[in-house]
């Protein structure tokens, strides 16, 4: 088997003023990933081709793009998954405003991050006094594997297909952040009057999610965003807002503890 061949690439080039898919023929060697090919394009044919990347090992979440229409990390997409005569099409993320070539303006995500109230440390524990059991931190730890590549935010049709929903909807990554904090064994938000279960629905747009699982499908870290974060969060919101039994139970308990 020969180790190197000429591949056909189509790369979107342009900026806010417009742009199009441009064709390239470029060498591909054994073991390479899509990001290697983009780098080869930069070094040999298009020195000003804009692309974000960083660790090249699937750990930083910078090189998000859409490859043959699917949101993926360029550094984790091996060329061997494509046929040698297949044209590989690379575009920037299509849910966010474009900056240039493969680079998009992802500030939507940073704005959303700021809207999620932070971890509230318990008042009675000093640094070094925190005690948590592994089984209690397992759940939020899964969500903290997130590398913030924003592929889930990109693929989620709630904002991808409906720009007008962006103000109301935090997106899978940040709803998962709410779930993470709500499951943190020592988060003391409740003591400050903050009910993360309720605000997930009321302020961060959990109700927009129709659990079609694209976020989970594209997650390069394999986080079960829908099953382990969003649906449990929906169930927690139900506890607060739609469950008369729980509501009644809490009333009775409050009365009996008061009496």
């Amino acid at each position: 088997m020969s180790t190197s061949y000429q591949a056909r690439f189509r790369v979107w080039r342009g900026d806010t003023g417009g742009g199009d898919l441009q064709d390239f023929r470029v060498e591909v060697n054994e073991g390479e990933v899509v990001l290697d090919i983009v780098h080869r394009l930069q070094a040999t044919q298009a020195p000003d081709l804009a692309v974000r990347w960083n660790c090249k090992a699937g750990k930083c979440g910078s090189c998000s793009a859409e490859i043959n229409g699917r949101p993926r990390l360029m550094c984790m997409t091996r060329m061997s998954v494509f046929g040698r005569d297949e044209t590989v099409t690379i575009t920037p993320l299509r849910a966010f405003p474009v900056v240039r070539d493969l680079v998009t303006d992802v500030s939507f995500n940073y704005a959303k991050a700021r809207q999620i109230p932070s971890f509230v440390p318990p008042r009675d524990l000093l640094p070094g006094e925190y005690r948590m059991q592994q089984e209690d931190v397992d759940r939020p730890q899964e969500f903290r594997k997130c590398i913030e590549c924003f592929l889930c935010q990109d693929t989620c049709h709630v904002v991808r297909d409906h720009e007008e929903n962006k103000p109301a909807f935090a997106g899978p990554r940040f709803l998962m952040r709410v779930a993470e904090l709500d499951m943190h064994p020592l988060d003391a938000a409740a003591d400050t009057g903050l009910d993360r279960k309720r605000t997930a629905q009321d302020e961060h747009g959990l109700g927009y999610c129709n659990i079609t699982k694209c976020c989970t499908e594209v997650c390069p870290e394999g986080i079960k965003i829908t099953d382990n974060a969003l649906i449990p969060l929906k169930e927690r919101a139900v506890d607060r807002k739609y469950d008369p039994l729980v509501w009644l139970g809490s009333k009775i308990r409050r009365r009996s503890s008061a009496g």
Partner: protein
Amino acid sequence: MATGTEPQTNSDTSGDTHHTANRGGVRTGSRAAIAAPHLRTDRWWLAPAATAAGLLAFVVYSTWRAFANEYYYAAPYVSPFYSPCLAENCAPMRAGPNWEVLGGWWGLSPALIILVFPLGFRLTCYYYRKAYYRGFWASPPACAVAEPHKKYTGETRFPLILQNLHRYFFYAAILVAGILTYDTVLAFRDETYAWGHMGLGTLVFLVNIVLIWAYTLSCHSCRHIVGGKLKHFSKHPVRYRMWQFVGRLNARHMLLAWTSLVSVALADFYVYLVASGVFADPRFF
């Protein structure tokens, strides 16, 4: 973008001349100017099409059977579509699930009364929601494939906000599964109601009830109720183990949703075949 605070606003409201044909969604003005609604090259339509076909087949079959109001009892087997039978017009079943709570005024097929519950359970199920939102409503048809709708509000308002009632249907589904278990026990009789016998139908019922239970217990609401709602698993070791067990089932929720859907239809069809005389139930002992 240098600061991350001021997301670029959607520029096409200002009548951007570069994008006169703003069609919203991925073709919103400020996004990369790509005309195609999606660039997927794989057969992305296969999964939603197969889902839609599968669900449609079940709907057609179950509508026919639910309205049929015949051939649903062949001693000792009662079709799961008609159990429990809650009206006077039910076929009498010895020791079977005849509870005439609705009395004589009900003139339609008695299946319609009880089917509301398992149907509601499946309709609000987190897996089926995904399946029909994708398969029937194309919202979205597949990941990164543009959906055709102009507006989208998800499950924020009536009627879809009612999806939040899933857990009540889960409670009801537990009762129904209990009754179907009872029916399966009754299937260990022969056609003269003598105990200690088994036929092919008994086997069909057994497989069905195992799948029904597995599907019911693998429900996300169940996972929440048994332990998922807790903040500290370490303080509730028994519920933690239950949660882990349900979690393992839950990972196969889709598989169980389909297999139990097929098995319940098959169980009904088996009863239909026997009751209508097309086929005699082979007896093992």
